[in-house]
């Protein structure tokens, strides 16, 4: 498809014009260059600085040179494979490919046998994973329900264990902390027969979310760095809330969330040029009546549509909230 391409073959719903995409990109570069992002983590700040960013250590502020951002977009692969333990369940992403992932994370379960509403368990998660594994409609799995019945300090590892044992498709996990993230990677490497084998065929997709507005925390920069060192696909996903954590306008929100995501992408590409990246967004409006974040709002779908176009424009596969 190429980088910074204007599509000529759009059919159906199209929310951004080509001029909009150019304007969005320019506005984002301006923002990242003049105002910058709030980024935490000494290691990350060192890396950004060494790559040419203007880093204010005292205030954890990073300003990005335009060509560094453009180069990072250029080096992201346009297409790559989210692998499964069973190669026939591999999922190709990028270009015009479309794939589906189940949603998460529930904390309650309607017991399928008794109808009772109860806390979800590790076993429930395993069952749902196995169920999704059999469903043709699901390409990639994410943590559907939380394992409420295990030691919560290693909850994400219990969840990983039960999912790995019930899934032959790609697994996109939600982890907190670098320690557990490393252990999770160790588990996947053990399954694949080594870190090199895991790099070749990554059966896991890592994730890191910036904190709107315009901030990336140390936990996330550490996870991006660790994942990039292992060459694992990273879903860098922002969930802006219009009027709450981002500008009230949809356009303004696209700019700020774009800056956040690109800020994370730059880090990954500095550490491992060509690291597979998913540009992710669950952005929606803040419901001003109830102060909640409705993913059923029409704007959520509008953002998804815009991000799809941004992905084609930047030549980076995208991940958006379903509608």
């Amino acid at each position: 498809m190429g980088k910074f391409k204007h599509e000529t073959d759009i059919q159906g719903y199209c929310i951004l014009s080509n001029e909009d995409l150019d304007a969005l990109h320019e506005a984002t570069l301006d923002l990242m260059e003049d105002f910058g992002l709030q980024i935490h983590g000494d290691e990350a700040l060192e890396i950004y600085s060494a790559a040419g960013c203007d880093v204010d250590r005292e205030n954890d502020r990073v300003r990005f040179p335009r060509n560094l951002v453009n180069d990072s977009i250029e080096s992201c692969p346009e297409e790559f494979t989210l692998c499964g333990r069973d190669p026939k369940n591999d999922t190709l992403v990028g270009g015009k490919n479309v794939a589906f992932k189940n949603f998460g994370t529930g904390v309650l379960m309607i017991d399928p046998y008794t109808g009772e509403v109860r806390d979800s368990t590790k076993e429930d998660l395993g069952n749902v994973a196995r169920f999704c594994d059999a469903l043709e409609a699901v390409d990639v799995f994410s943590i559907a329900v939380a394992a409420g019945d295990v030691d919560q300090r290693v909850k994400s590892l219990h969840e990983a264990e039960v999912v790995f044992n019930n899934l032959t498709k790609n697994f996109a996990h939600d982890l907190e902390g670098v320690k557990n993230t490393q252990r999770f990677i160790d588990m996947a490497a053990a399954i694949q027969g080594g870190y090199d084998k895991l790099r070749e065929r990554p059966i896991i997709t890592m994730g890191a979310c910036p904190n709107s507005p315009l901030e990336i925390n140390e936990n996330e920069t550490s996870i991006i760095a660790l994942s990039a060192r292992h060459g694992l696909p990273i879903d860098i996903l922002s969930m802006g809330l219009c009027g709450g954590t981002t500008p009230a306008t949809l356009a303004g929100t696209l700019v700020t969330t774009n800056a956040e995501i690109l800020g994370g992408i730059v880090l990954s590409q500095i550490i491992n040029k060509g690291n597979p990246i998913l540009y992710g967004s669950s952005t929606t409006i803040m419901d001003m009546r109830s102060a909640t974040s409705p993913v059923g709002a029409p704007e959520h779908a509008m953002f998804g549509s815009a991000v799809g176009q941004i992905g084609h424009y930047y030549g980076i596969p995208t991940n958006v909230g379903g509608t």
């Binding site: 904390v107 309650l108 919560q152 907190e176 009027g243 709450g244 803040m286």
Partner: protein, 214 residues
């Protein structure tokens, strides 16, 4: 202007988010020799309570509520500056924060603002606050209420830790705990032994005020 009219004007100034009107009511109160503490609790705060109800009913939205809390802060600061020296009894003290490992604080900020404007002394501990710090600060500030917010299934367990540490510190029976956040439910509150689950800011205010009235 009579006292009733001044108190009414004060309440209205909050409902209308009118800073000028609010300051005028304060000036009028001074001219008439009305006790500013009463002006605060029967005038401005009455307006705040009405707004809280309206928000709860979905009649006004968040921006209106936030505008009003800004006006409320202005007058409260002015009145509190005068009360320095005189011991105006606070209705209660709250410590609130977003739990360790969690940086989501928009909702928590709204709760802190609204509770504060209802006459409670609020200490906002910020975000990524370890359970130990919740307890430490509750002791330091002699808190009556300990509120925690968690937005991730992975961090809500910190709320359980707070309950446990409060027990360990021997102060659990001296405070009321409130929990909130997207994955948090009434079931969860009951499971961990929290005193209340609050769905939003108005909920939190109502719960606290009802405890104070007991």
């Amino acid at each position: 202007m009579s006292k009733e009219l001044i108190l009414k004007a004060a309440a209205e100034s909050i409902i209308e988010s009118d800073e000028d009107k609010a300051l005028e009511a304060l000036a009028q109160a001074d001219a008439e020799g009305i006790d500013v503490v009463e002006l605060l609790s029967e005038g401005y705060s009455a307006g705040m309570r009405e707004l809280g109800d309206q928000f709860g009913r979905g009649e006004i939205f968040l921006p209106e509520l936030i505008f009003s809390t800004e006006v409320m802060k202005v007058v409260t600061e002015k009145i509190e500056a005068r009360m320095e020296g005189s011991d105006a009894p606070k209705k209660g003290v709250m410590v609130i924060g977003t739990v360790a490992g969690d940086v989501h604080d928009i909702g928590k900020g709204i709760v802190a603002s609204l509770v504060k404007t209802n006459g409670i002394e609020v200490h906002d501990l910020g975000r990524e606050v370890p359970a130990e710090v919740f307890v430490e600060k509750a002791i330091e500030y002699k808190a009556d209420f300990v509120g925690s917010s968690a937005l991730l299934t992975t961090t809500m367990t910190e709320q359980k830790k707070i309950e446990e540490l409060l027990v360990k510190a021997g102060i659990r029976d001296k405070v009321k705990t409130l929990v909130g956040g997207a994955p948090v439910t009434k079931r969860w509150a009951e499971k961990i032994g929290a005193d209340a689950y609050c769905e939003d800011a108005t909920d939190a205010v109502n719960v606290i005020l009802s405890w104070l009235n007991d």
